[in-house]
């Protein structure tokens, strides 16, 4: 795209990205983040859901120096500047994995399965990673 603010009269759709994989073990988490940033650049209404092992993507204090991979977790903190502010995590998934909100690098809303299902119903497009 050009670097102008060019999307003024575009249709805005509700995009949901469902992140279900842990980071580093596969490429899904990083790929999802890239697509989210592109969707945000097109001024779409973006929601992110972290469920199953996807909740591990947001774990604080990641340090990848020892495994020779890029630590992309700081980028989740930049999402706010891209106006991506709807971040949801699954309570069921957090509980299963012994995680609490305090373990996470960004501010999120913790939702039960039913609330997540409702949220999903409300979307135009759902991408699963």
């Amino acid at each position: 795209m050009s670097e102008e603010d060019m999307m003024d009269d575009e249709i805005v759709k509700k995009f949901m990205f469902v992140n279900r994989r842990a980071p580093y073990g596969s490429i899904y988490a990083l790929e999802s983040l890239e697509v989210v940033l592109i969707a945000a650049a097109f001024d779409q209404d973006v929601s992110l859901v972290f469920s199953d092992d996807g909740v591990f993507q947001l774990k604080k204090e990641q340090d990848t120096a020892g495994i020779g991979m890029k630590n992309f977790s700081p980028t989740y903190r930049a999402l706010e500047m891209y106006d991506v502010e709807k971040l949801y995590v699954s309570k069921t998934s957090m509980d299963q994995r012994g995680l609490t909100k305090d373990d996470l690098i960004v501010e999120v809303e913790v939702l039960g399965d039913e609330a997540l299902a409702d949220l999903m119903d409300d979307q135009d497009v759902i991408f699963s990673f």
């Binding site: 842990a22 073990g25 596969s26 199953d52 990641q62 120096a65 495994i67 630590n71 299963q96």
Partner: protein, 102 residues
Amino acid sequence: MSILHTVNKSPFEKSSLDSCLSMAKEGSALLLIEDGIFAALKGTAKESQMKDASQKLKLYVLGPDLKARGMAEERVIEGVEVVDYAGFVDLAAAYDKVSAWV
């Protein structure tokens, strides 16, 4: 004839850990690496299964993979020993063979 088992998949996503634990014989060892490290953490739905396993197996987890995923050593279940890459090599050399549950 003891075996070093390695599991590199998350126990919440794949059955690699379950399969490994059902096959691993007393006196063998299990090293958790990559996304397998999530099995080594306290307070998860897998903790009791791992504690049972520690009764018959030596359990290890790879430190750099813990660190990459933001997991401090304090979160590791007691009875699971943290090793570095050199420790991984030592284990592979110490056991008769390696079985990777990929």
